[in-house]
């Protein structure tokens, strides 16, 4: 799955050169008309993989934003103006989706499951009990934030540790798909289980950070 993107490179409508991104031709400096919505990975010329080269994503985002942004098309024809608005919007959405590991995982799962819905309720065994316990601890601590600053920080770092472990697991699972594509269906399901769990942990973090506000 990580190599087939190479075949999908599009050709510039102006100079016929094969482009690194379907949004803009760096060879003849022209913004491209889009007839279909391109895949987020293609936009940044990146392989379809979870373990993404973030530096490259960042660099390519900046490079593209500096060409596509509507500010540079104020003096252009109205079709180009419109295209720059559309392409910039798409670029921003694609960047946000790929930058965050969890939304990147969701996007990949969407591609891998071919639109078939996955079980959003399934959680790791014993997970819900842990969450409930953490919520109860938090409830006691939040009665007096100032007095329990240290304990709160400890809960926070515990939750963050769990989130990291979860992301690590997701990363490994995606790696396993690349090693053994035949087992893809089962692995996709376990990734989804991890993503389901992530929401509960995020919720805890939100609660802690809200309490920290002056």
């Amino acid at each position: 799955m990580k190599h087939d993107h190479l075949s999908s490179h599009s050709v510039c409508l102006g100079c016929n050169i094969t482009m690194a991104t379907p949004l803009f031709c760096f060879s003849c400096n022209s913004i491209q008309r889009l007839s279909t919505k391109p895949n987020y990975f293609e936009i940044f010329d990146l392989p379809y993989t979870y373990n993404l080269d973030i530096k490259r994503l960042e660099d390519n985002y900046q490079k593209l934003a500096a060409e596509l942004h509507p500010d540079f098309y104020l003096q252009s024809a109205s079709t180009e103006k419109r295209q720059s608005q559309e392409s910039s919007s798409l670029l921003n959405r694609a960047y946000t989706a790929l930058k965050c590991p969890m939304s990147r995982a969701s996007y990949l799962l969407e591609l891998l499951s071919h639109g078939k819905p996955l079980d959003e309720r399934k959680l790791p065994a014993g997970f819900l009990e842990d969450i409930f316990e953490l919520q109860e601890t938090l409830e006691d601590l939040l009665v007096d934030v100032e007095d329990h600053a240290e304990e709160l920080a400890a809960v926070k770092s515990d939750v963050e540790k769990r989130l990291n472990a979860l992301q690590e697991a997701v990363s490994q699972l995606f790696g396993n798909i690349e090693k053994d594509p035949s087992n893809q269906k089962n692995i996709v399901e376990s990734i989804q289980v991890n993503l389901n769990a992530e929401r509960y942990l995020q919720r805890l973090l939100e609660r802690i950070s809200r309490s920290n506000q002056v």
């Binding site: 309720r121 819900l128 009990e129 919520q135 509960y200 942990l201 995020q202 805890l204």
Partner: protein, 130 residues
């Protein structure tokens, strides 16, 4: 239109908040979560002669989730186990006039009732088997 008065009432003064010792023989515990928003809900029942004599809950979540579980504890009290299993999430939606985006909160409450009863039954069979 805002939230119904009943939601607000159950949210501001929730009934039956708390917990029983879950090790007790006649207690059933249901713990469920809503993947949509990360809410968690614990609902416990105390059973005597196949009848639910008391119920408690603890919910970490939005106002609708708290109101739904509060209402659920009120409704199960005094019902037989079989009667309690007939409570549907749609009844809760109707009673509290929950908006569509909050329907999952009522689903959560229904799940919690079922899961508490299942836990009670499971432990009974375990105990009698011993």
């Amino acid at each position: 239109m805002a939230y119904s008065d009943k939601v607000v009432d159950h949210y501001n003064s929730p009934r039956n908040v708390g917990s029983f010792k879950k090790e007790e023989d006649n207690v059933g515990t249901g713990l469920v979560g809503a993947p949509e928003c990360g809410d968690v809900m614990k609902l416990q029942i105390k059973v005597e002669d196949n009848r639910i004599v008391d119920a408690k809950f603890k919910t970490f979540g939005c106002g609708s989730a708290i109101a739904s579980s509060s209402l659920a504890t009120e409704w199960v009290k005094g019902k037989s186990i079989d009667e309690a299993l007939t409570i549907k999430n749609t009844d809760i939606v109707e009673e509290l006039s929950l908006p569509p985006v909050k329907i999952h909160c009522s689903v959560l409450a229904e799940d919690a009732i079922r899961s508490a009863i299942k836990d009670y039954k499971d432990r009974r069979t375990e105990n009698t088997a011993e």
